[in-house]
């Protein structure tokens, strides 16, 4: 009895680590990242004058910028795993934190001002979910429309408040300290927060029943429905999470730069989708990992830094993002077909 159990356990040998890396959604991007990072370090050691990658100033700059897009991509990625897109994050990222700045400027207690932004994000997420799921139209059309609606509406709502296009944002000292201080002088707190949120997202996706439902709803909605999962409710939660993550990222940003703006054309939404695709998430839902999103964000920022350090023209970044989106999807598809 025992012997046969041991036998059957032995028959299911663990896969070799090579095949596990290859079949993991974040495998290829991890390899790409490690190679790029190694290349940067070698180049920086060989040419310390021309390529100043290893200077503490440069490293902390990169680490400070990763969370901007990375946090947005975490939310967009969770939603993508659940099988939907959110392009409206580009506007939410700008508009909801601006509401915080306006409210705080008007004398609302700080905690409440932050809650207002979160509430706005929740409402936008619910509207996105309601239209997409209620009328069964593709989410990228709904959220593309919402992107433009929020982008337009935000400045008008601001007009009621004196029509200012930008507002200084001076949160309580402690808040700013906690969010943006450099730990040990070089490690920006934003990056630690980003990792914390990533761990939270990981726990949600891989250690909580809701995460299971996200994967099921994105992978095979019909099967999920038959298994008793309320697919629409699951997706609604994902829509809300996507908006909320974008808002959190926006609050980090206005805290760091100490000014909130309504100037919206940052294309955050497209970079977030790009990060997710580079990070190995399936466009069709049901496949992906938090590790992939984090490393995808690191790769994008690393490329930006390389372009900056090598003094290459800026248009290389656009071209790289374009190529990586297509290449990423092709590689993801190929891997999915194989395993």
């Amino acid at each position: 009895m025992v012997a046969s159990a041991v036998d059957s356990a032995l028959r299911y040998r663990r896969a070799s680590w090579q095949s596990r890396v290859r079949s993991h959604p974040a495998g290829p991007v991890t390899i790409l990242f490690v190679v790029m990072l190694a290349g940067c370090i070698v180049a920086s050691l060989l040419l310390p004058e021309q390529f100043r990658f290893l200077l503490p100033g440069n490293l902390s700059l990169v680490l400070r910028q990763i969370p901007n897009l990375g946090l947005v991509a975490l939310g967009v990625g969770i939603l993508m795993i659940a099988g939907e897109f959110d392009l409206s994050v580009g506007s939410v990222f700008v508009a909801a934190p601006f509401a915080t700045a306006v409210a705080y400027d008007a004398g609302v207690p700080f905690a409440l001002a932050v809650l207002i932004a979160i509430a706005i994000a929740v409402v936008i997420g619910l509207i996105n979910a309601g239209i997409t799921l209620g009328f069964r139209i593709p989410s990228f059309i709904t959220t593309l429309g919402m992107l433009f609606i929020v982008r337009t509406a935000a400045p008008y709502i601001v007009d009621l408040y004196g029509g200012r296009k930008s507002l200084p944002f001076r949160p309580p000292e402690g808040f700013k300290e906690v969010l943006t201080v450099d730990v040990f002088g070089f490690l920006p707190a934003q990056f630690i927060w980003f990792l914390l949120f990533a761990v939270l997202a990981y726990l949600l996706l891989n250690r909580h029943f809701l995460g299971n439902h996200f994967f099921a709803a994105g992978g095979d909605p019909k099967a999920a429905q038959f298994a008793g999962i309320n697919v629409n409710r699951t997706k609604t939660v994902a829509f809300v999470l996507s908006s909320v993550f974008a808002t959190i990222s926006g609050i980090f940003t206005i805290t760091r730069v100490a000014v909130a703006q309504t100037n919206p054309q940052l294309f955050i939404e497209l970079y977030a989708v790009a990060i997710c695709v580079i990070g190995g998430l399936s466009l069709f839902g049901g496949r992906g990992s938090v590790l992939g999103i984090v490393i995808g964000a690191c790769v994008l920022q690393l490329v930006q830094d390389i372009i900056l350090l090598a003094q290459l023209p800026g248009f290389y970044l656009d071209m790289f993002v374009g190529l990586m989106i297509v290449a990423g999807v092709v590689i993801n598809q190929a891997i999915k077909r194989k395993y």
Binding site: I141, L144, T152, L283, M319, Q333
Partner: protein, 347 residues
């Protein structure tokens, strides 16, 4: 057997009553014809009632409309034909700008003859369309992601080609292709009518012939309506989609050339901040083309684009702030898609 043939006969029978009315109701662009007719009627009535407050029906304003509508509508025809096959193209703003640059720079700065630089420009458009088609149809990537990739890529290319050697910046470029060319493409004909309107009619007729009077059009409707059935009856689905992508890129490039010729200038930032792709998609969706493919009519695409441009024009006339148009565009797209869905489920 007889039961089946009786059923078939019943299915084929046109319901009693006026057959033209029945056909009209089934016409896919009927809603936009009605809506745009109403909008025009309201605008004209308002304009005649209060000419000073709302200067819609003046020659000057109608001339502006007759120059602006064709640019969007021509691009919308391409986007619409592509949407009939069930695909999207988000990269048209990039194609629009890049083709104009590729025509203008060799012509004005390298002294190429105009026909050669136009060949280069439209060659670029065809290449973009082929690439989009190959990536989408052969690699099996959803077109809206593939063309977002293309959009970023074109944006980079535009930033590269638009660098002005004198200033080293991405300045707007002048484009003076000569009087004959300008007269043919954008000349003033009579009253408020400009040559662009004639070009729109030409493109629309060509689009109609492709979509409704040629085998390939039939294949497009089948490909978008029911891909598996299309494959089963031997339609080369990939080739059909590739052709639609090329048509879309070429119309976008032609629209870009019209715009550049009219204002004698090319703006590199148009590719990033115009929202032109959303405008075209909005026009097409308002025109009754199904987002899922398989349904659509050229007249609907043209009138949908005209409706979008007219709304923009009305907003300018009543002095609404410039940015409100894009928000409205977002709302129009969502509402139009919802309405199309409802119509489809009923029909």
């Amino acid at each position: 057997m007889s039961q089946i043939s009786a059923d078939l006969a019943a299915a084929r029978r046109v319901p009693q009553g006026a057959p033209w009315l029945w056909r009209l109701k089934r016409y896919q662009a009927i809603s936009v014809v009605v809506v745009y007719g109403l909008l025009l009627a309201v605008c004209l009535a308002w304009s005649f009632a209060a000419p000073s407050a709302f200067a819609f029906a003046t020659t000057g304003n109608l001339a502006v409309l007759s120059q602006q509508i064709p640019v969007t509508a021509i691009a919308a025809i391409g986007v619409g034909i592509l949407m009939v096959t069930g695909e999207f193209d988000i990269s048209i703003a990039g194609t629009f700008t890049l083709v104009a640059f590729i025509v203008a720079i060799p012509f004005s700065e390298a002294g190429w003859p105009l026909w050669l630089s136009m060949l280069a420009g439209f060659g670029t458009a065809v290449a973009i369309g082929v690439l989009n088609g190959l990536i989408t149809a052969w690699l099996g990537i959803p077109s809206f992601i593939a063309t977002i990739g293309m959009m970023f890529f074109l944006r980079g290319v535009i930033r590269f080609v638009s660098i002005n050697p004198q200033t080293n910046l991405n300045d707007s470029r002048p484009f003076f292709p000569g009087e004959t060319f300008e007269a043919v493409l954008t000349g003033h004909l009579f009253g408020p009518v400009y040559a662009q309107l004639v070009w729109l009619v030409v493109v629309a007729v060509i689009g109609y012939l492709i979509l409704n009077r040629h085998q390939i059009g039939n294949h497009m409707f089948t490909t978008g309506g029911n891909r598996d059935a299309a494959i089963a009856v031997g339609v080369n689905v990939r080739r059909v989609k590739l052709i639609a992508f090329v048509i879309c890129a070429v119309t976008a490039g032609f629209a870009g050339l019209l715009q550049a010729t009219r204002i004698n200038q090319i703006e590199p930032s148009f590719a990033t901040v115009s929202g032109f792709e959303l405008e075209a998609i909005a026009g097409v969706v308002v025109g009754g083309v199904s987002l899922y493919g398989g349904r659509g009519a050229i007249l609907g695409m043209v009138l949908g684009a005209a409706l979008i441009e007219t709304v923009d024009n009305v907003l300018v006339l009543i002095g609404a702030p410039e940015t409100i148009f894009k928000g409205l565009l977002g709302a129009i797209v969502i509402v139009a898609v919802i309405l199309n869905n409802i119509v489809r489920r009923r029909g």
